[in-house]
């Protein structure tokens, strides 16, 4: 019984090893080019079609592609889409795609923000995530989600004032965009919590109310607002 289990585990390990040995950037590019039907004529349109993000971020990506069209091409589009896929799959290969290929192209806010996600959510490298998000907002200062994620990283690093600054920017930017109301709500709520810790109860209450306006179905914000009211504030 025990031997059976062991051999099953060994087989699984061997399969994983074979898969890992087969993995290479060229294979990834080949597969993604085929899967997304990328060609020298249509790669830009296909990229914009399959890159899923808020409208503002997609517009920003379009601007980036148009500005660097001569240096980009179907290979870059294939790498970009594979990078997104690996990130969604929570695979550490996303880091390899960035390190071995994407970082050699002109810096792109979307790619930097996604690499920040990879470092924060998969690799657990906080300082590296901070650098990537900082690069993303430097390249595209109106990317609300990158400001929000940078705020989360600052908070995790114990830099509360800076986190509050990023949440404020994220709430301001996302508040005016219909498809980014969740970011606006979460940023407002985090900012409200920060104000609460400073003892600014009235401002905190106002921000948490705002968060609920952006996203009425937000249990944490509702619970906090109820707790504030229960204290008679």
């Amino acid at each position: 019984m025990a031997r059976g289990k062991k051999s099953k585990r060994n087989k699984k390990r061997a399969r994983r090893h074979r898969e890992s040995a087969r993995w290479s950037l060229d294979r990834v590019v080949e597969r993604t080019t085929r899967d997304f039907d990328l060609g020298s004529e249509n790669w830009r349109d296909q990229l914009i079609r399959f890159a899923c993000g808020p409208r503002f971020a997609t517009k920003s990506l379009e601007r980036y592609v148009d500005a660097h069209q001569s240096r980009l091409g179907p290979r870059w589009a294939a790498l970009f889409l594979a990078f997104e896929e690996e990130m969604l799959r929570q695979s550490e290969r996303a880091e390899r795609i960035y390190e071995e290929a994407l970082c050699t192209y002109p810096p792109c806010a979307w790619v930097e923000a996604t690499m920040g996600d990879v470092c924060l959510l998969i690799l657990g490298r906080l300082h590296r995530a901070r650098r990537h998000y900082q690069a993303a907002v430097a390249l595209e200062p109106e990317l609300a989600n990158a400001h929000y994620e940078l705020g989360l990283v600052y908070h995790a690093l114990g830099l509360f004032e800076r986190a509050a600054g990023e949440f404020k920017t994220a709430a301001q930017l996302a508040g005016g965009r219909e498809d980014e109301r969740e970011v606006a709500a979460r940023a407002s709520f985090n900012l409200g919590s920060y104000q609460w810790n400073l003892g600014e109860c009235a401002i905190s209450k106002q921000l948490i109310r705002k968060a609920l306006e952006y996203m009425p179905d937000y249990p944490e914000a509702q619970a906090s607002l109820d707790a504030i009211k229960a204290r008679g504030m």
């Binding site: 929570q90 470092c119 924060l120 959510l121 998969i122 690799l123 657990g124 490298r125 906080l126 300082h127 901070r130 989360l152 908070h155 995790a156 690093l157 114990g158 830099l159 509360f160 800076r162 810790n197």
Partner: protein, 249 residues
Amino acid sequence: MRPGLVPHPPYDLQVCEIRQYAFPTTDAIERFERFGIEQWVNTPQPVFGGRCPWEVAQSPAGLWRVEEEAKEWFGDQKEKIAMVLATASPLPRPDKRRAEVYRRSGGLLNIFLDWVSEEDDELWQRLVRERLEARSFPDQATRLAVLHEIERRWLETPSELFSNLTPELVWAGPGPVEGKLLIEFLESHTAWWEDQSFETRGEALKESLFFLRRFQLQPRNDFPQRMAGEVVMAERRRMLERKKAVVMD
């Protein structure tokens, strides 16, 4: 991802209690081990007449006594003894203190953070670029004086690498209050961790850090009107003042 449980060496040997704590990463386990050493170095010991090992280690003979005593506490583990000696050694020069800061645990506020090095330190890189490399100096002595000056400035500036502690507060090390807070935190974190499941290292670390920051910002009943983070900083400031009076130039 399985929780990283490590046995914790008892602070009070008379009790001899083995506990297990959950850590999100191996870096965090290393930081915790360093913390134990730093706390020992900063704790008055009866064998030294109620003085702390760092105070005794100010002279070469004292350093040797600390080494002998450390072997009693930590066993004959060369790596640990070397850490004790590095932590207890007098470091009057700012450059020596600066190099040491990156190896210090950073205490409760930094317990789950990754190790960092000079390469990650944007403030240090900027100071060197602007004040050292962008200028020319008439002689080596002037250059060295400027270098020491920027090192002092770096030591006194709150750092994003150490949860907003100044590097010199990181260097000063923890006191008994921080030790108790850390154990309290690790106990509550371990209890919380047992109900969690994480898909990735990043997720485990992120959630653990958020748990740490909640603990840091919680008002304490035992320290009225103060949060755990403020208590830690105040104790480290006192420790630094004591060390400054004895060690620094």
